[in-house]
């Protein structure tokens, strides 16, 4: 391997840059740790029911109990085990995040390519549609759509897929507008390449980085929105291993007992802390990748 392929060399350089930044290493580690937890969930916390996303609970006593040997992170309201909920919640966060963002990417890339490459009326129509989507606060529109199609975790996923694509379309389109006039595209066209070929072998790969960075940042936002919907009572049912759902179970416990005002701190603090770390991981990673790939920043 004396002479590396230029693309590989670039990748190696990028990777080195990425690993030199402490923030990006923290981000990557967080994502990897959460990924391992999600993968190993059946080993870490063997499921008790046929549906592993149902959190086991011992009894129906309403008051949360503090961490103990049987429940290392304590229990929530109605004695749902916190650790189990968080571990399997990690798995459902990955499922939701990856599924939603992949679907958003798919829709967003296709529409973005159509708009950017063909321009004219196609562009105008697609861009006006994204304008409409951006006009309404994301959470508010998600709430309304969930109400329209019926509540539940599935509905939340469908809604996030329907509403999440416009940001990718916009970013990809503006990238394509820059790439479209470049010499290598003109050369490809002159040599008789078809529209489809030009689009997917020349234009999309060149514009893909910014979209992928956005995707990394959006996994965090997607999970935050899904959790917010569950917190508001529009997502999963009580007792589902879903982070937003777990937080909504703890919201009545912010005030402790007269003798011990922080009596239930664990039930409020732990689940939110876990969500924050997850989102932070993706955000740090997306941020670092942006800095690394940005040609204006990288060779400094």
């Amino acid at each position: 391997m004396k002479t590396m392929h230029p693309r590989l060399r670039e990748l190696a350089f990028t990777l080195r840059r990425f690993l030199k930044n402490p923030l990006s290493v923290i981000g990557l580690s967080l994502v990897v740790i959460f990924g391992l937890i999600a993968l190993l969930a059946p080993v870490l916390e063997p499921p008790k029911y046929a549906d592993p996303y149902k959190i086991p609970h011992t009894g129906f006593h309403i008051e949360p109990s503090p961490p103990s040997a049987a429940h290392p992170l304590g229990t929530m309201q109605q004695q749902y085990d916190m650790l189990y909920g968080l571990v399997w919640g990690t798995r459902s966060a990955f499922r939701i995040g990856v599924l939603v963002v992949a679907a958003n990417l798919f829709i967003g890339i296709i529409l973005g390519v159509l708009a950017g490459y063909f321009g004219g009326l196609v562009d105008e129509v697609i861009m006006r549609i994204t304008d409409i989507f951006f006009a309404i606060p994301f959470l508010v529109m998600a709430m309304a759509l969930v109400v329209a199609i019926g509540r539940g975790l599935k509905a939340v996923v469908v809604v996030l897929i329907i509403l999440g694509w416009p940001s990718y379309t916009r970013v990809l389109r503006s990238d394509i507008l820059v790439t479209r006039g470049k010499d290598f595209i003109l050369a490809a066209r002159a040599s008789g390449a078809s529209h489809l070929r030009i689009m997917f072998t020349h234009i999309v790969p060149n514009a893909l980085y910014s979209v992928l960075i956005l995707a990394s940042l959006n996994i965090g936002t997607t999970i935050l929105t899904a959790a917010a919907l569950s917190f508001l009572g529009l997502g999963s049912e009580t007792g589902t291993a879903d982070w937003g759902q777990i937080i909504s179970l703890c919201r009545s416990w912010i005030v402790g007992t007269p003798g011990n005002r922080f009596a239930y701190w664990y039930t409020v603090f732990i689940p939110g802390f876990v969500i924050s770390l997850f989102v932070l991981g993706w955000n740090l990673m997306g941020d670092a990748v942006r800095d690394v790939f940005d040609p204006r920043m990288r060779r400094r």
């Binding site: 923030l23 006006r128 549609i129 304008d131 409409i132 989507f133 951006f134 006009a135 309404i136 606060p137 994301f138 959470l139 508010v140 529109m141 709430m143 309304a144 759509l145 969930v146 109400v147 329209a148 199609i149 965090g220 935050l224 959790a227 917010a228 917190f231 508001l232 009572g233 529009l234 937080i247 703890c250 919201r251 912010i254 005030v255 402790g256 005002r261 922080f262 701190w265 409020v268 603090f269 689940p271 939110g272 802390f273 969500i275 924050s276 989102v279 932070l280 955000n283 740090l284 941020d287």
Partner: protein, 345 residues
Amino acid sequence: MSLLAYIVRRLLLMVLVLIGVSLLVFTMMMLLPPGQRVAIYVTNDRVSPAMMDALIAKYGLNDPAPLQYFRWLRNLLHGEFGYSITASSPVLKGFARFLPVTLELVLYAAPLIILTGIFLGTLGAVRKDTAMDHVTRVLAIVGFSLPTFWLGLLLMMIFYGFLGIFPPGALSTDVRNIVFSDPTWHPYTHLVTIDAILNWRWQVFWDAFYRMILPTLNLVVINSALIMRLMRSSMLEALGQDYMMTARAKGADRKTLFRRHARRNAMLPVITISGITFAELMGSMVITETIFDRKGIGWWMAQAALQLDVAAIMFDVLFLGTIYVVVNLVVDLIYAYVDPRVRLS
């Protein structure tokens, strides 16, 4: 393009987007069965199950969709938005009751969000790669990552649960009695803190203000992150421009350099995203008002979504969409006026 032509173009575009927003809301409505859509047409809640079929026929809720759309649009233009079960009143009346609570919080939170974002963003850029820069960058990214509802609950747990200060709710019982039933109280604006000053009732002012501190803090932490980051990068870009070197060569001191030359130019992109900031603020308002028990538009939306109060939800979506479009138009016009490059391109 002249400024006038630009304005006309933007106005036409605005109408187009508004029609789009109405189509979007209408599509969401049509996903519901006719029995639930009745709420959007009636003016009271005296609807027995037996009357349902008659009402569906009366409002033509099984007619072809385009016909229903124009009928609904006509209702909107007449100010008929249906009956909200969560507000126990027609939608517009409920809206008039909830809006001031939200507006008042926006009045305090929005300027603080903008100032915090601009200040910390500038600080990070001016002291690039110092400890201060790293701290503000980490702050911004943490602000992005914190769930609004968790931060709210933590603030409540620490301040209300542990320290026993900053209770939830918009007003204490005593003060609520004054505001809602004291004959000497004049609700000039329905914004309690402002009315309190106008009525010269400092007890009321303090009570309302005191209960606004935590929700405001919550909104500022979450929502200033975006402005902070944008301000930092756009300030860095401005600092690298040639005119900065010219100014420096002419002997301008650091203060003049940063304030007059760099920051003014760096603030332009921040102005353009104020529409997005506004939309994000309204999103976190839903959560913040729910947690801090302030009965405003956000609280209303959360309740309406839980209780399938379709009329209220659809109205709120329309309202927020319209506001956003108008705010954006105003911002763009100001921008075009300030920066001729925009309208000439």
